[in-house]
Symmetry: C2
DNA sequence: GCCTGGCACTCTGCGCTGGTGAGTGCCAAC
DNA sequence: GTTGGCACTCACCAGCGCAGAGTGCCAGGC
């Protein structure tokens, strides 16, 4: 078990290293933080912290830098979440309030998060699977061709073409539209399938094929998880990474282009509360020298999607976590209003 | 006027420099291209080319590298467009054929272009202003709240909320929907305004306010140019830029995040045929050391949007132009089919 | 008049060297 | 458990010299 002072030393090391980006030595530590002990004592503590794996030296006789394990301890035990200041809160709200539609909300959120944290921001579109249906619209584009438009409570619109096995009259279409909406409007996606199962039976034999086709397209759309889109911003902040960064930045940019990787990353994060993944805790290799701070957000009490930030393991965790949490909250509010 | 051989020398310099990324000297040139003259002669030619501003030396007594002006001459006079090979064509077609909707088409196009050129790809969504209306749908979400959904011939869907000044019945809504569609379906966006001008007059006095509100929202959507979205991909290729690249890459990433800048960039390019903007020819300062190759694409004979590639001025112009042209063609075909 | 070989010159890049300074580990004393 | 002292270890930097590539110019040849 580490003594209280050793934890303070670790905290000081993390703070200084995050600030200066340079290995921090015992003397500098005692000068900048009044620990009440001499450099020699700090040296002993550092040696102990190194033995435990919380800090490391890049080279013999250089200062210490925190390891992933050290950051983990820092985040779990030593650092709080720094709340946003009132002016910051106002700025967030003002910025998000100007959004005109869902795309705009997401776009603004990404920008905001990237600016606040000066890192790469990732925002997932509100996920379909947890949303509810606001309206289903059917349009006849050709005698045997129907367009299905699904509108969700989060303002998202999905459209699909349906090829009908047989011509489908306007009357039948209106009928289907009405029945469909009376059954599914306001329902959660996951509840829809059993509700429409027996719908084809209400139609004439000749129309049943088409009704089935429409329904199966609808269900497909509902469960289609790979349609979970996301938006990324602030990649220019990657250039602040460090001096060595061709090697560092490349895999990160590649990871960011792979939506699959990112979705997985966000998906792995816990459903409730904020998740911080540090360095090698990230399954994806390219992100081994980055940390990911993510949190769910949603219109009601429940999270419908996630957003977060990708930055170097050497980041200002309290500040980043504060910004992420605040933005998630305000986005949730905005979604609830619209 | 430059002699034929001097042009050949310039071409050789560009080709070698693009290949090796290093300043090219007279001796290396004569060894790699059989110009039929000695290095000394080439040196004279190089001196002349330098006087004219087509090439430059990074330092005294280093080889030469092409200037923007040199690349311009190369692109205009010396280089053709390298056609894709049949297997490449097949690969392009196969890859694009798998797309399921417009988003997917654009996403796949970006990926494809980035892979083919190994550079940053930019694809603009088919522009609304040049498209035609396929269908306008109106949904009553609440007594005084209508959702307007606009479906275009390129498969794009736009939705807007309309707050009605007075409650609007289902009957009136259906009436408006029918009248609206009979007038504007199949029309180009630019033709729509005069066609709907007198529509409110066909309605009861109490409904006219709502009809006007719906119409003005529709017209807004049609002309709203800032809604021109685009998709970017292949940013990881920026890391291949050069050795000095923190300085180079940063402004490029920033430019890529500014959709406004990019849209302007694509907008400035000529409407027909391929446009190549080299280095300082780009108005935006951050892109002064990059070249932009862009071309319009469209479902019919007419271009509805543009796509292109952003890369270092030191790029393989014939190959890049070939890839951009080929991709634009196939995307056009795909859009025409759907 | 154009091309060519030769020559002196100019730089960049690289490896080597030595000095400086920050930081450490250890030890004996408090 | 804490402290001051001390010897030691590296990374970093500046200076040096050398090799190599490339140039410009000039005089001679076709």
């Amino acid at each position: 078990m580490l003594s209280e002072r050793r934890l303070q030393v670790l905290r000081a090391i993390v703070q200084d290293y995050v600030g200066t980006e340079e290995p921090v030595g015992s003397k500098a530590l005692t000068e900048r933080h009044n620990l009440g002990v001499s450099p020699a004592t700090v040296r002993n503590d550092m040696a102990a912290l190194e033995d435990e794996g919380f800090i490391a030296q890049p080279h013999t006789s250089a200062g210490r830098i925190p390891t992933d394990k050290g950051y983990r301890l820092f985040v779990d035990k030593l650092a709080g979440v720094k709340p946003m200041t009132p002016p910051e809160r106002r700025a967030i709200q003002n910025f998000l309030d100007g959004a005109v539609d869902l795309d705009d909300v997401v776009a603004r959120t990404v920008r905001l998060l990237a600016q606040l944290t000066r890192q790469v921001a990732v925002v997932q579109y509100p996920s379909l699977t947890r949303s509810t249906v606001r309206h289903v619209e059917l349009l006849s584009l050709a005698p045997a061709r129907v367009m299905l438009v699904l509108i969700t409570d989060t303002g998202r619109v999905e459209q699909r073409m349906v090829d009908c096995p047989a011509p489908f009259g306007e009357g039948s279409l209106a009928d289907l539209r009405a029945r469909l909406n009376s059954r599914v409007a306001g329902r959660r996606f996951s509840d829809v399938p059993p509700l429409v199962e027996d719908l084809p039976e209400a139609f004439d034999l000749e129309d049943r094929g088409t009704v089935s086709a429409v329904l199966s397209t609808l269900l497909e759309t509902l469960v289609e998880e790979n349609e979970e889109r996301l938006m990324i911003g602030g990649t220019a902040n990657l250039t602040r990474f460090g001096h060595d960064f061709p090697l560092t930045i490349r895999p990160v940019l590649e990871a960011l282009e792979e939506q699959v990787v990112l979705l997985k990353l966000l998906g792995e994060a816990g459903d409730s509360g904020m998740t911080v993944r540090i360095g090698h805790e990230n399954a994806y290799e390219g992100l081994n020298s980055t940390s990911v701070v993510s949190v769910g957000y949603g219109s009601g009490g429940e999270a419908v999607a996630k957003l977060g930030v990708v930055g170097p393991t050497r980041m200002d965790y309290p500040g980043t976590m504060g910004a992420v949490r605040a933005v998630a909250r305000y986005v949730g509010q905005i979604l609830a209003e619209s």
